[in-house]
């Protein structure tokens, strides 16, 4: 066999390259520029005046932000190209360059940038190392981006592992916290466990079709087009295992058990990042796989996914009600939200796909803000995260309480917030596809869910003698900025949402064979 040099076109993965390069630069800069933060040990809670919170280590977050900026720029560049010439694949069919992947990449870059901003302040206040944190965030976003544009199951798997490994470490980043260590360990073990199923799924798909490629010559798409339906059982089983593996990442029931522990133990900026980013990446892969590639098999996988959607919505909502810890509560709420997005997946129409994109983008922006608020209120080791610790928040920090109200209402899906619109869009898609009963279940689940969001609100607005310790927000300009941005996005997208949804609709086109 003669070696044929592959045609290398970097434009498709330029954002990922930019992020990986930035990660390396961050590590280098961390080693050689500025003094290690040993010399500045800010007391927790005393926001030092002036540029204090930026410390003399501002170059690391700045560098990371430039990396995300470059990623967004390169993604937009790719958008212009696919918009003009249509979707293509690159790297011997390993990478799909299409509107879908570009949309997801830009959204992910935004989540990543917000995490950097929050993380910087969080780490400086706790006197933790920053370089590795930023590098890991950058790598994991790069992995998530690859998930979205992967056109080969092998790449999907590697991308999944890349961002997962980074997340395992980020979860346990604050090593003084035992619950963080425990959470990281659990997340890692179960993640490895789920990866084996994902791999087995790839093996079965390969066994059935003779390829792991989605669109290429002899790939899964062309296989499906030429093979009679009766011969597809192995492929269906493989697809089932792929759904299991990705279902783990998006926290779908019954593969959700890690979620509350990991969300609770992780530093809050990381939790927000996980909730926003890992869900988006997982669903990006699921949408491409199920709604596009395995579209011809939808009658086979849909019952399964409907089951997962229904169980996920119900279990997530019910269990959230009994939580006393706000981070665990938000973890279960994120499970329920995964269920809501699944209703868009089963719609298998364009509106479902764009609806899911819109949902995940708005949910991400909201949840990052919510966890930012948890981070500023939680104290150095995030011990003050019980619902009762929020008692009297309104009296202590009225504006913060107001913003948290807005975010909770959005998560509950109350009108004039983005969460409402998002639910409307995904439910609308499912109704259009004829799955009204699933939407009814979703509506019931949201009604149950309203309880726990409102519960936080009620506690916040109480002022009474029982408050042992008033909630105390420790926040600098970066946290305030992220929280404000999240609130603004939640409100603005709840009122004027058509630009974003139109963008998502416009982005709903895929590479093909």
């Amino acid at each position: 066999m003669d070696f044929v040099a592959p045609k290398i076109a970097l434009s498709g993965i330029a954002p990922e390259i930019a992020l990986a390069a930035t990660a390396l630069l961050v590590l280098l800069a961390d080693a050689f520029i500025g003094d290690r933060p040993r010399t500045l040990r800010p007391e927790h809670g005393s926001a030092r005046p002036g540029s204090g919170i930026l410390g003399n280590r501002w170059h690391l977050p700045l560098l990371s932000l430039i990396g995300f900026g470059a990623a967004v720029y390169l993604a937009l560049d790719a958008w212009d190209r696919v918009d003009a010439t249509g979707a293509t694949t690159q790297f011997s069919g390993m990478i799909a360059v299409d509107g879908f992947s570009v949309f997801v990449k830009i959204t992910l870059a935004v989540f990543g940038a917000l995490t950097i901003l929050l993380g910087h302040e969080y780490l400086v206040r706790r006197d933790l190392e920053e370089g590795e944190f930023f590098a890991l965030v950058l790598f994991s976003v790069a992995g998530m981006m690859l998930m979205a544009s992967s056109a080969d199951l092998i790449v999907t798997f590697l991308a999944l592992e890349t961002f997962s490994i980074a997340l395992y470490v980020l979860v346990g980043y604050q090593r003084s916290r035992l619950d963080g260590q425990e959470a990281a360990m659990k997340y890692f073990l179960l993640g490895a466990f789920s990866s084996t199923f994902f791999l087995l799924g790839i093996a079965l798909v390969f066994g059935a079709t003779g390829s792991t490629n989605l669109y290429g010559e002899g790939g899964i798409t062309s296989f499906l087009a030429t093979t009679p339906a009766a011969d597809l059982s192995l492929l269906v089983l493989g697809a089932g295992l792929l759904i299991v593996g990705l279902g783990f990442k998006v926290a779908a029931v019954p593969f959700h058990m890690w979620t509350p522990d990991a969300y609770q133990g992780a530093p809050s900026p990381v939790t927000g990042f996980m909730a926003a980013g890992s869900k988006l990446a997982g669903f990006a892969a699921l949408l491409r796989l199920l709604d596009v590639v395995l579209f011809p098999l939808r009658w086979d996988w849909r019952p399964l996914v409907i089951g997962i959607a229904v169980v996920t919505m119900i279990v997530g909502s019910i269990l959230a009600v009994v939580q006393d810890d706000i981070k665990r509560m938000l973890a279960y709420s994120s499970i329920a939200h995964a269920g809501f997005v699944f209703t868009a997946v089963i719609a298998t129409n364009d509106r479902g796909i764009s609806g899911a994109l819109f949902y995940l983008a708005t949910y991400g922006l909201t949840i990052v803000g919510a966890f930012a608020i948890v981070a500023v209120l939680g104290g150095p080791e995030e011990r003050r995260t019980r619902v009762n610790d929020f008692r009297g928040l309104f009296a202590a920090h009225p504006l913060l309480a107001g913003i948290l109200t807005l975010l909770m209402l959005s998560l509950a899906g109350v009108p004039i917030t983005s969460g409402f619109v998002a639910k409307l869009v995904v439910f609308g898609a499912a109704v259009e596809a004829g799955y009204t009963w699933v939407v009814v279940v979703g509506a019931i689940a949201s009604a149950i869910a309203a309880f726990f969001y409102l519960r936080i609100l009620v506690v916040m607005y109480m002022v009474d003698a029982e408050v042992a310790e008033e909630p105390k927000a420790v926040m600098g300009p970066l946290s305030i900025g992220v929280i404000g941005l999240s609130a603004a996005a939640t409100l603005v997208l709840g009122l004027f949402w058509s630009p974003l949804i139109e963008l998502a609709e416009k982005a709903t086109f895929f590479a093909g064979p």
Binding site: G143, V169, R175
Partner: protein, 166 residues
């Protein structure tokens, strides 16, 4: 001719692997058990060579013998696990035996079911050679290859973060 020698080597390897595999589970010294495991895995690598799968054989040596077993031994030493006679046993024997037996049975049954009576003639052309794998890795699979490097780098940083002493 080749067939005969192949058979001889195969049976020799079989005997070696069988004995060492038994010793892995019967040895009461955990370090000994690990070393017997090395022998078993090396035998498997040799079997691959016998089947003209040189690349898989090297992977077997590098990954299993070179990495996993060494890691295991390090783990044993670093965690100060009980090393020595009689310390290496528990009450899960039966479960382990049943599991292993079932695994063996299923694997055997599947292989027999799939290849019963089939004869596969080996030649240079059918064997999976390192060269063809190299070709694929640096042509159509160049991207996964690069992604793996990123994955490993991320893992490396992660390891540093976890292991670093404050």
């Amino acid at each position: 001719m080749v067939d005969t020698w192949q058979l001889v080597v195969f049976w020799a390897l079989f005997a070696m692997m069988g004995v060492s595999a038994l010793r892995v589970v019967t040895s009461s010294n955990v370090v000994h058990a690990a070393l017997y495991l090395v022998v078993t895995l090396m035998g498997a690598a040799a079997l691959y060579v016998l089947l003209l799968a040189e690349f898989v054989a090297w992977v077997q040596v590098l990954v299993y013998v070179g990495a996993i077993i060494v890691l295991m031994l390090f783990g044993l030493m670093l965690t100060r696990a009980p090393i020595g006679k009689g310390m290496f046993d528990n009450d899960q024997r039966l479960v382990a035996a049943v599991t292993a037996g079932a695994l063996f049975g299923v694997t055997t049954w599947i292989i027999v079911d799939a290849f019963e009576g089939q004869k596969i003639t080996l030649s240079k052309a059918t064997g999976i050679r390192a060269e063809s794998i190299g070709d694929v890795i640096f042509s159509s699979f160049v991207l996964p290859f690069e992604v793996i490097s990123m994955l490993l780098l991320a893992a490396l940083i992660g390891a540093v973060v976890i292991a670093r002493r404050d």
